[in-house]
Subunit: 224 residues, 2 copies
DNA sequence: GAAAGAACTGAACACCTGTTCAAGCAAGAA
DNA sequence: TTCTTGCTTGAACAGGTGTTCAGTTCTTTC
């Protein structure tokens, strides 16, 4: 007698897995990583604590996958925005402002993913997450350099610095809380995008134009 | 019969307190914040675990004071370097490269002070620490703006972004390990300083000159 | 030198969560 | 239906570390 998972069961299992991940994500979005504890997450997902361990070997794995998921979403959004831009400099501007908007619209989640203290070791997935975004931005800078729009430079270093600047300015502990005021929020995104573009060598005048181009299309400067 | 602390005792108590703090600092410099645990620190300071609590109400207080101490040192170094510079733009360049060098020469400590996960809440002192440095850099940017060297901007935001850029690029998880090669280390400091100056609006050509001016005087690009 | 107060010691305590596992339950095969 | 397999449960467990405190040692006062 061979036991076989029927379609329905497979689907249910997958749904549960997603539910657990979603519960973790909700918890992180509301209360940061410290709120991602097995018991509360299990409750949120309508599951017993032990069940979580049938889907994720450990809390570290759960959080790692959460980080990977959020990171994937962000990377996709950045790519989409950059690919839609008319030229390499615009693409860079679009990429940067997309990161800024994403990070701003889900600050707690972003902070949790990036840097919030967690009791388990998720360094690896955090590094992977950063590496993806940094790689994307670096390749955009590279394209602009090749197009002759920017001076030659260590693009990896530049991209890393840019990411750090965005994060610290927007979700770091010194970030002023601009949520609730869309106008201020937009100004902030513009300001950091401008800083970023100038940092890699875009001329000031040109940068201002690019920033406006890049920020305006971003429809929802608030919300998920 | 009134008990009075004699001079000798007062001195010994102060010495112990310093010893505990120093032990904590050593531990942090060697193994990051996770190595700052009461028992090991006590051993290092030649003291029993319980004694630590006669000097610091809690681990959080110990670490907070450690952060404050390191932060004070760094701020002083930045001020010194900037004040010695010939003009506002040079001062800014000097401030930025000083932060870069400091952070690079004690990466584990810097990472611990800034962002490493800690099991107790030291958010307040971390914020204070950042605020001091950011305030200093912001005021240097401000001076350069007033001198007409830079475009008007949100200096607080810019300074915060700069700090984030330095940290992420130099001690973040993606930072390439350049220690051991002084030449590369100097290049890195130059590169991030250049990025920072351009970000706030220094023209590229001028920035290059400022960077060289600012980085060259920094004697020890390695060591504590 | 003796009494009293302060400082120090370090083993025991407390607490918090991630993790486990024996028992119960649901779902597939015959 | 009945047997087997695997999923689910949730209370108990485990481990590590900050914190306490009764007992000891050192300092001061008279």
């Amino acid at each position: 007698m061979v036991y076989r998972r029927t379609h329905q069961v497979v689907k249910r299992l997958a749904a549960r897995r997603s539910a657990i991940l979603a519960a973790a994500r909700e918890a992180a979005a509301e209360g940061g990583m410290s709120a991602v504890q097995i018991a509360p997450v299990a409750v949120r997902a309508n599951v017993a604590a032990g069940t979580v361990y049938r889907y994720f070997p450990s809390k570290a794995d759960l959080i790692s996958e959460l980080i990977a998921e959020v990171s994937r979403d962000e990377l996709a959004a950045v790519r989409r925005a950059a690919d839609a831009a008319p030229g390499p400099s615009s693409a860079l501007a679009a990429a940067v402002s997309t990161v800024a908007v994403h990070v701003l619209s889900q600050r707690k989640l972003a902070w949790g993913i990036l840097a919030e203290p967690v009791d388990v070791d998720v360094t690896a997935s955090r590094i992977a997450s950063r590496r993806e975004i940094v790689g994307e931005i670096a390749s955009r800078i590279d394209a602009a350099v090749r197009a002759g729009h920017l001076p030659a430079q260590d693009t990896q270093l530049a991209a890393t610095a840019l990411l750090g600047a965005l994060h610290e300015a927007l979700v770091g502990p010194l970030a002023t809380d601009n949520l609730g005021d869309p106008a201020k929020l937009r100004d902030t995104v513009q300001a950091v995008t401008l800083l970023a573009l100038r940092a890699v060598g875009v001329m000031d005048a040109r940068a201002r134009g690019l920033v406006v181009q890049a920020v305006l299309p971003v429809k929802s400067l608030v919300g998920a």
